[in-house]
Every structure is written in C-alpha cells, then in structure tokens.
Amino acid sequence: MSSSASARAVTAAEPPMPGLPIKLRTENVGMAFLRDDKTLPVLENINLEVGNGEFVCLLGPSGCGKSTLLSAMAGFLRPTSGAILIDGEIVRGADPRRIFVFQERGVFPWLTVEGNIGFGLRKLPAKERAERVGHYIQMVGLEGFEKSYPHELSGGMKQRVEVARALAVNPDVMFLDEPFGALDSITRMVMRIELLRIWQAERKTILFVTHDIDEAVQLADRVVVMSARPGRIQQIVSIDIPHPRDISSPRYLELRDGILSQIGLAHRL
C-alpha cells in the first residue's frame, strides 16, 4: 500500500462484455473511513462498467475494500468521492431492485424458511405470494423444509434460503459478498453450479465478491482483480470459456495462473 505509484491503476472505465447495455457504472469512486482521527483510504479511482446480465467477480486480497465497494454499489454506504450509477441514475440508497446477499448470516432467525423467502413479497396477495415462495423453494431444493427455522438448517441450506429470498423479489442486480465462503468445499461446488444454473435461467446482473481465484474463474464473465489497500482495479480479465466450464482445460489453467501471478504481484507491492 506504500508504493501505489507502481500499481498499474486503470483510470479509464473498463467496458463490459461487448454487446451488452450498461447496467452499472462507477465513476472515479473513492472511499475513505475515519479511524482514530485519521482518514484511512480504502478505495481509490474505481472505474468499472458492468453490462446488463453480466456476471462479474471482484477478486482481491483481504482488506482491499471489496465488501466496501459492494456495499456502496448496493446503496448501504455513500462513496466519499465519485459516483455509482445504475440504469444511469445515481445510487442513493438500498432498493429492492438490487438485492445484497450476505453470507448465510443475513437469514432472519425468527422466521421460517417460508417466512424468509417471502419476506420481500409483503405487498403481494397471499395466494401469489405462496406460489412465488413455493417456486423458489423448489428452485433452491428446499422442499420439505418450508416450516423449518434457520437454526434447524445447515450452513449451505441457510445460504440457499438467502439466495432464494433475493431471487423471489425478482431483482435486476444481485450483490453477493463471499456467499459461499463459510461452506465446505463440496457444498461450495454444488452452490456454484446452482448459482450458474439460476443465473443462466434468470439473467440477473451479478456482482460477486470472492478471494478464491478458482471460484472467480469458474463463475465470472469478467474478473476484476483489485490491489491491496487502498483498493484499486489492477486488472480486468475476461473469462472467454463457455459454460459449462472444463476446469482442467488449458485455457482455464492459463487464465487462472495469469490471475494468480497478478495477485502475487499485488502481494509484493
């Protein structure tokens, strides 16, 4: 974080996948927190464009500001400088059209699975609401657990409840902050496959934070590699492998190793 001059900060906005209309853009976003009477710069010069329906992974070392950036995009935090625009409008607060998925911690422990998934559907008539809830319970494979409380579920099941709760309100954008970080490796693989299946069916715009390189390369259309604090965009890698991805193909390994060396470089800075 000392010799930031040598970081290859990208200042021009990175364009999304060719052919996609722009859903979200950040313009010179900077973020600083006040700590012990000192300002701690966390994000600097974040310029990014995300296409409609695109799957973008934010990847970077711990503490580089990934969660902060995602919270700002979701409207929970105001950037200290610059602007975040969704559909051309500046983001001024949280909005049900853009749902943030916290690890499984965001599931409300006082509601059943049904209650959680239907939480964002308060305004629908009961019948329609029940149909929607049923549909998403089925989509995430939680049939039979409708009346269960979160403490009766495993970590992976709670995570699925949260994803279903987000999907149920039919948002255009989903922000996922290390959603599978707390899961065991097998459940994590299953969840990735399910997320891809849902994404391909519903074509949401997804911003997905991870510090797992494999996860990023398996999921994303583009991987945004960030440098250590203050976080900047160090490189954006397009993953040009069609789904389902063969994770032992030479191209996959090449892309993964490329990012790996970028991260290694980031650590040496």
Binding site: F76, P96, F100, F102, G106, P109
Partner: protein, 253 residues
C-alpha cells in the same frame, strides 16, 4: 432418574428447616418463629380467606404496573434505540432517574393518587419502566447490522423496520429483560403495600406486626411472597421456552 432433580433440593431444604428449628429451640427468647410455628401461621391464614384476597390484590397490582410499563417502554425503547439523536437527548435524564429507588417515589405516589391501588400500581410502573426501557434500547443497538441492511434492502421504511426487524430481533433479550423486570415488580409491590394501601401481601406483613406482634404471620407472609414470586418467574421462563419466542436461545451463536 427424574426423582434426583428434586431429591437433592428437597433434602437441602429439609436440612435448612431443621437448622432453623434447632436455632429457635436454642434461643427461644429471640422472637423468631420457627418453621413449625410458621407453618401453623400459614394454615391459620387460609380459613379466613384473607390470604387468597391478599395474593390476588398483589398480583393484580403487579399485572397492571408491569404491563403498563412494558407497553410503554418497548415501543419507546425501539424508537429511542433506533434514533441515535433521541438516545443522546434522553440519556442524561435516564442516567439521573436510574439510581433513584422506586421506593423514593412513595410520598409522591401517595400525593398524586392517595392511598390505594393506583399509588401501588404507579410505584410498580416506576420500578419497571426504566429497566425495561434500558433493556430495549440496549438490545436495539446491538441488533446486527446485516438484519437492518437486509430489511432496508427489501424496502422497509422506519416503522415497518421496527416492527418486522428490530422487534423480532430483540425478542430473546426482551424475554430476559421481562423476567428480571417482573422480579423487580414483585419486590416493589410488597414495599408499596406496606405504606400505600390496606391490602396485599406487603400489608399482611406490617399488619401482622402492628396488630399484636404476630411474627409467625410475618414469616408466613414472607414465605408466601417467595412462593408466588417463584411461580411468576417460572411462568415467564416457560414463555421463554415457547417456540415462537425462543429462536435466540436455540441459536448456537
């Protein structure tokens, strides 16, 4: 197997009663009635029907004072806990009022409400309100930010946020607070009844002493106060265990 859970306490209580009886036996001039005389005192209270009337009177006052305090303190605590500015404005007053014993309000209670139920209910209200309010404020302020952010994300404004997120989120701590506060209410009612009314278990105790130094009835009254208090506490505990309210107690946090 099950018998063991009550066997040990039962034996312990019997031993204590024995020691009590022994001490009274060795110092008969000390004016403390022994367990045997106390038991006779309790028996003595029943035929007159007075005891049931007094228990009902005390429980009635506690119910009103406690319920009113909870009904006011919970919504107010939600609002004050949520709006930092309201908390900062209110905090100095709360901190000054807090160390004042509810019993210090007795003269004012009698001045405002005269001798009667209202004065006692007011005193219980005063004793319960602040602990309850502080519990709720504290609980609201420690609700994890994820729940609040999630609620806002689904489009909740301030009032729905309080009803659908903050309130359910604090229920586990609220239940603990209710239990402690009900205990306070039971302490206060006895003291209030000694001065501000002419019925109830507190009145029974002063009356037994004033009308002929019936210390067997004094101790009998104390035992009944203890037993009713224990029953009230068990009742709230059973609420804590009911499923809709207990989510926090089953969570492995």
């Amino acid at each position: 197997m099950k018998s063991h859970t009550w066997l040990k306490p039962a034996i312990f209580i019997l031993v204590l009663l024995g020691v009590w009886q022994l001490v009274v036996f060795l110092h008969p001039q000390q004016l403390l009635p022994g367990p045997w005389k106390t038991a006779l005192g309790i028996v003595d209270l029943f035929p007159r029907g007075l005891i049931v009337k007094y228990i009902v009177a005390s429980v009635f006052r506690v119910t009103w004072g406690f319920s009113l305090a909870v009904l006011v303190a919970v919504p107010l605590g939600l609002v004050v806990g949520w709006y930092r500015r309201a908390e900062m404005a209110l905090n100095p007053i709360l901190q000054i009022l807090r160390p004042i014993s509810p019993l210090a309000w007795i003269p004012i209670a009698i001045l405002w409400f005269g001798v009667g139920d209202l004065a006692a209910i007011f005193l219980i209200f005063v004793g319960c309100f602040l602990p309850m309010l502080l519990t709720v404020i504290n609980a609201v302020q420690s609700v994890p930010a994820v729940y609040i952010n999630a609620g806002r994300n689904f489009g909740l404004g301030p009032v729905p946020l309080m009803r659908k997120i903050l309130f359910p989120a604090i229920i586990p701590r609220l239940m603990t607070g209710l239990r402690i506060t009900l205990g306070i209410a039971w302490l206060v009612v006895v003291a209030a009844e000694m001065i501000a009314v002419n019925s109830g278990l507190g009145f029974l105790i002063v009356d037994a002493r004033n009308a002929g130094n019936r210390y067997d009835l004094v101790v009998a009254g104390m035992v009944i106060i203890g037993v009713v208090g224990l029953l009230l506490d068990n009742w709230v505990r059973s609420l804590e265990r009911s499923h809709a309210l207990c989510w926090g107690f089953e969570e492995k946090q």
